[in-house]
Point group: C2
Chain length 274, copies 2
């Protein structure tokens, strides 16, 4: 099954556009976990178990594992997600970008080693830096387009023939790179009108949309701007707001994460067109 | 000592602008090494020993290690280079690019875990994706500008106000991001006239220049175009042409690598202005 088919099935079966981002910051983990040798694995596994029926995708961020020399824990986590929740696509957030021979190695890292269904990639080095990922026909490459961070405008908003660079990237991916339906785009929720412009360019291509939750993006505006022709089309990501949810009386961290994930999924669904 | 000071000292003490890229492809290693459990470490260590007096920098490419689950070998290699050849700057080629909180983790990966003097980074996500690396005051961030691969033109050559995007990146880094003299740029050797234009924009900022050797860039044109005001200013990288040099009679792989590295260093020096 292709990545996009798996994702479409998850949108339906999970009734969710929520992507749960797994960015395990050791300093923010519950005290009882911090002393464990595999703390970030235990933490992420608990979050996964608490949210799996609410998520259309899981998105581990590799940097948090790499900084701690914990690639082995990321491998275990990915294996756990794939075996326990095979219906939920696994997106490795790595934002790789390099020449073809090197991209082949990064593709092996993402798809063979971690078994990801899709990986985020950076478009700056152009088509041959993306092509090796697309050789893995059942996997996806989700290309950075318009990012939700403050500096995102530095390059992405530069005007090329009167049109911002990110729209050129959207067009390039839609018209040239996405020959086999394997591509998606990263478009931040912090700019709903730009999300709408990207959606108009790329038809029903899947979008990974960070920026709600801790980054402040508006859910109603995001759903209105980014939905595809059947009212799906997005993995709307929340990481920190779910992972580090403030526990209420009687909740542990996982229950708090579940509560926020449920609220977020439902808030998204409220605004979806039937 | 800052990265740029260490690099300037290496240009002098080594009489070299040659950067030796360490991209250990398991399938291309000598047969006698392939069966070893730490084959790529053993291979890279032999290359390092054979070329250390000829190099102004070593540049391991992390993708080759990550694809093989060999981060431990990369750690050992970096430790070996730092302890045995402390005069030769260590540049981790990782081309990272992500939002600030994530970039902090990547900076820890590069600088704390691997002890790199500098890391390559991608500019697409803008200033706050670069800032965390610059918090490490004695380290460098080498920003992708004009890359040597075929698809490099897809984005980098788009015209913004009549000027190609890569020149905007050069100007952005020179004028805004390089506040503490910690930045460098990646500019491919395959486009000497563009290298000259970048040099004109960034004054004496260090340039990492891939694309000679296996990628076909011309050494004379590269030196003429990219030298700084004192006839240095570049880490001219060669990876595959050195690592996989064809052995001549009586040579092992390391001797062949040394011969090609020596020829390359000397060819570069021939064209340098005194």
């Amino acid at each position: 099954m292709s990545f996009t088919d798996k994702l479409s099935a998850a949108w339906q079966s999970q009734t969710s556009l929520l992507c749960v981002g797994l960015d395990p910051d050791l300093s923010r983990l519950p005290a009882e976990l911090q002393s464990q040798p595999d703390a970030i694995l235990a933490f992420c596994r608990a979050i996964v178990d608490a949210t799996a029926d609410l998520a259309c995708a899981f998105k581990p961020q590799i940097a948090y594992f790499a900084a701690l020399r914990a690639e082995d824990q990321l491998e275990e986590l990915c294996k756990y997600i794939r075996s326990r929740y095979p219906q939920v696509p696994l997106v490795l957030d790595a934002k790789r970008g390099d020449i073809g021979a090197t991209a082949e190695q990064y593709a092996r890292e993402a798809f063979e080693r971690y078994g990801a269904d899709a990986v985020t990639v950076n478009p700056y080095m152009g088509s041959d830096s993306i092509a090796p990922y697309l050789e893995w026909k059942d996997r996806g490459a989700i290309v950075l387009c318009r990012t939700s961070n403050p500096g995102g405008s530095d390059l992405q908003f530069l005007k090329v023939d009167g049109v911002p660079l990110y729209q050129h990237v959207a067009r390039l991916v839609a018209e040239k790179w996405n020959t086999n339906g394997q591509c998606g785009l990263v478009v931040g929720a912090t700019f709903p009108e730009e999300l709408a412009q990207v959606r108009a360019i790329v038809a029903d291509m899947p979008l990974l949309v960070p920026g709600i939750g801790a980054q402040g993006g508006d859910i109603a505006a995001t759903v209105a701007a980014g939905s595809d022709s059947v009212g799906a089309g997005m993995m709307i990501n929340s990481s920190r707001a779910i992972l580090y949810a403030q526990a209420q009386a009687g909740e542990d961290f996982a229950a708090a994460a579940r509560r926020v994930a449920l609220e977020t999924r439902d808030a998204i669904n409220t605004h979806r067109k039937p």
